[in-house]
């Protein structure tokens, strides 16, 4: 068997952490080095549940690892990434990359200086349907892409996701970046301008739970992103990702999580969807690990994470002023 990469899980704060831990345990090209969490009780329970080693300190985990997946609160991405880089450990950061453009830049710079790779968790790029669309666009089959209507609505995740100090915002910070990354990757173009309407209408939070972005890309295409936590508690699944892509030669609809059984569950008094499509977390972490093992650039890097974060940051600024915000104005 070929070499396995030693990978640890840094923090268990994120809702995706259990799935990340399971994936790290199961991937054959990974040796799961264990978990460190700033919340000791939570981290120890997680380590026990996933049959992995508990590390009292981040340094201990980093010393045992060649790479870490950072699944902390959004605001902690920077400090964990900088600690990993200082130890020469590669990083796969949960999304969004950071909560400010300055933090995102600092993370990229820290990893560059240390000679380690920085990846960002955008699993939508691992969807076979999205990859098929990317190939079709690249081949010219759809003609020039003129517009995209993207949605990434979800249920309110609860916990720290509604706390601006830890999450950096609400639904916009949580969900804009998946769609923004998919759009710029598919169209092969960069965001130039963002307008946004936000509101806190459903859960009584201090952060927005509804958000609708209208964006211009540099090459003239336009796109909208619905990032709202609009799925009711009775919705049959957590949410979803859809892309309605209009090209000059064709129109394509992608519903990334459409492959699901409908389960009418009397014990829960509701219907729910049971997905059976490819596991995107497995494919995403696999692609990251394979790149590190092969000494190739990771497929989704810190710059990609920063570009997507800029869209979210621009949305907050636009919503304050009711005016479109140029992405270039965030970089001065």
């Amino acid at each position: 068997m070929s070499r396995r990469l030693r990978v640890g899980l840094l923090s268990f704060a994120h809702v995706h952490a259990p799935a990340l831990a399971s994936t790290l345990r199961e991937l054959e090209q990974v040796e799961f080095t264990g978990i460190h969490d700033e919340d000791v009780a939570r981290g120890q329970a997680a380590a026990k549940e996933h049959g992995s080693r508990w590390h009292d300190t981040a340094d201990g985990l980093l010393a045992a690892s060649e790479a870490v997946v950072v699944a902390s609160t959004n605001v902690d991405h920077r400090r964990y990434t900088e600690a990993a880089a200082a130890r020469g450990v590669h990083v796969l950061s949960e999304k969004p990359l950071a909560t400010t453009v300055a933090d995102g830049r600092a993370m990229i710079e820290a990893c560059r200086r240390a000679g380690v790779q920085l990846g960002v968790a955008f699993p939508v790029r691992s969807s076979p349907a999205v990859i098929a669309l990317k190939d079709a666009i690249a081949s010219g089959a759809l003609g020039r892409i003129r517009a995209v209507r993207a949605t990434n609505p979800g249920q309110y995740p609860g916990r720290w996701f509604g706390d601006k100090r830890l999450a950096g915002g609400g639904a916009v910070m949580d969900h804009t970046v998946h769609a923004a990354d998919a759009i710029r990757w598919l169209v092969g173009d960069e965001f130039a301008r963002v307008q946004a309407e936000l509101g806190s209408f459903i859960y009584g939070l201090d952060v927005e739970d509804c958000g609708l972005l209208t964006c211009d890309l540099a090459g003239g295409a336009f796109a909208s992103i619905d990032c709202s936590w609009s799925r009711p508690q009775t919705f049959p699944t957590w949410g979803g990702v859809t892309l309605h892509v209009v090209g000059e030669k064709g129109t394509v609809d992608v519903d990334v999580f459409r492959q699901a059984l409908t389960h009418y569950d009397d014990s829960a008094d509701r219907a729910r969807l049971v997905g059976w499509g490819d596991d995107l977390t497995t494919r995403m972490i696999g692609a990251f690990v394979d790149a590190i093992l092969a000494g190739r650039p990771v497929p989704i890097d810190g710059e990609d994470g920063l570009r997507a974060l800029e869209v979210a940051i621009a949305a907050y600024r636009a919503a304050e002023t009711h005016l479109p915000v140029a992405i270039a104005d965030l970089r001065v």
């Binding site: 517009a147 936000l198 209408f201």
Partner: protein
């Protein structure tokens, strides 16, 4: 009833009127005239010019189903001749034209109704009811979509924005009117649109209300598989979802495939929304009441459509003030 125009809308209204008690389609006008011959024969109506229809003693109401940029000219002529006017949406191509129509009908003391037929579609009426009775709670965010293949491939005047107003005034206007009907007058509009070759046109609009809700609307002439509508309406107590592609109670397949001839009619309601619209209009005229969507209301929805176009073309956020 006399019908000006024998295209899609003229034929729809003429056919819809045929099953109504106390309503008779007596004359059809078209340009050139013989293009209305088939429709006139189907309705047992005579072919006549627009001037003859306006002057006819046996006509009480004129349906204006001409290309959009001609609505004002014909509606004004009909009003001056003392006829009630039912005008297909949009009320007109420009705000000035619409204002002229409203003035002419008010001065003549005749009814001016505008065919915002979505207000007669039961799925949209149900949503309105669940909003109004509080079932959904306060509306938070809504998305409405409406798409079709490019109608410009069937009728060339649609391709000329100066005549039709493109996908925004012809298609998205249904949802702009719906949003006004559901939520009232918004406060801001931001939009984008593009026009491609062969009638391809697509627009996205974001409509913000003072406080709430946020509304997103898609109007598409890039829906190559054919007509569809949908909406998703989230209030703070629940969410409604409509998708026309998932609600047809009748699906027919033939060995010839999708290109084969239609084997059977596929009605989905006992009475079509178009007929309900005409039935309601005639009943209201009979009772001396205003139509459900009068000229002023049609003008306000047109103005919102024009604001969407202005935003898309200028790139700016448009602060919205509804015409009185």
């Amino acid at each position: 009833m006399g019908v000006l125009g024998a295209g899609f809308a003229g034929a729809m209204h003429a056919h819809s009127a045929m099953g109504l008690d106390d309503v008779q389609v007596v004359a059809i006008a078209a340009l050139p005239l013989d293009q209305g011959a088939a429709l006139a024969q189907e309705c047992g109506a005579r072919l006549a010019t627009a001037e003859q229809i306006c002057a006819a003693d046996d006509i009480d109401l004129v349906v204006v189903a001409t290309p959009t940029h001609l609505h004002a000219e014909y509606a004004t002529a009909a009003a001056k001749a003392g006829k009630h006017v039912f005008c297909e949406k949009p009320i007109a191509r420009t705000r000035e034209q619409a204002e002229e129509m409203v003035r002419a009908c008010d001065a003549a003391g005749v009814t001016l109704a505008v065919g915002h037929v979505v207000r007669y579609f039961p799925e949209y009426q149900r949503a309105k009811q669940l909003l109004d009775d509080g079932t959904l709670g306060r509306p938070a965010i809504a998305t409405l979509v409406r798409g079709n293949f490019s109608v410009g491939s069937a009728r060339e005047w649609y391709l000329d924005s100066a005549k039709s107003g493109g996908v925004v005034l012809d298609l998205m206007l249904h949802d702009l009117d719906t949003v006004r009907w559901w939520f009232g007058e918004p406060s801001r509009v931001y939009a984008r649109r593009f026009t491609g070759r062969a009638g391809l046109e697509y627009a996205l609009a974001t409509i913000r209300y003072d406080d709430r809700p946020i509304v997103h609307i898609e109007g598409s002439w890039a829906e190559h598989a054919g007509f569809r509508t949908g909406f998703e309406l989230r209030g703070d107590r629940g969410m409604l979802v409509h998708d026309s592609r998932a609600t047809s109670p009748l699906t027919v397949q033939s060995p010839a495939g999708p290109a084969g001839p239609a084997m059977m009619a596929t009605p989905t309601l006992a009475e079509s929304p178009y007929r309900r619209q005409l039935r309601d209009l005639f009943a209201r005229i009979g009772r001396g009441e205003r139509p459900l969507v009068d000229g002023h209301e049609g003008l306000r929805s047109l103005a919102l459509g024009l604001a969407v176009i202005e935003s898309a073309d200028s790139g700016n956020v448009i602060e919205w003030k509804a015409p009185a």
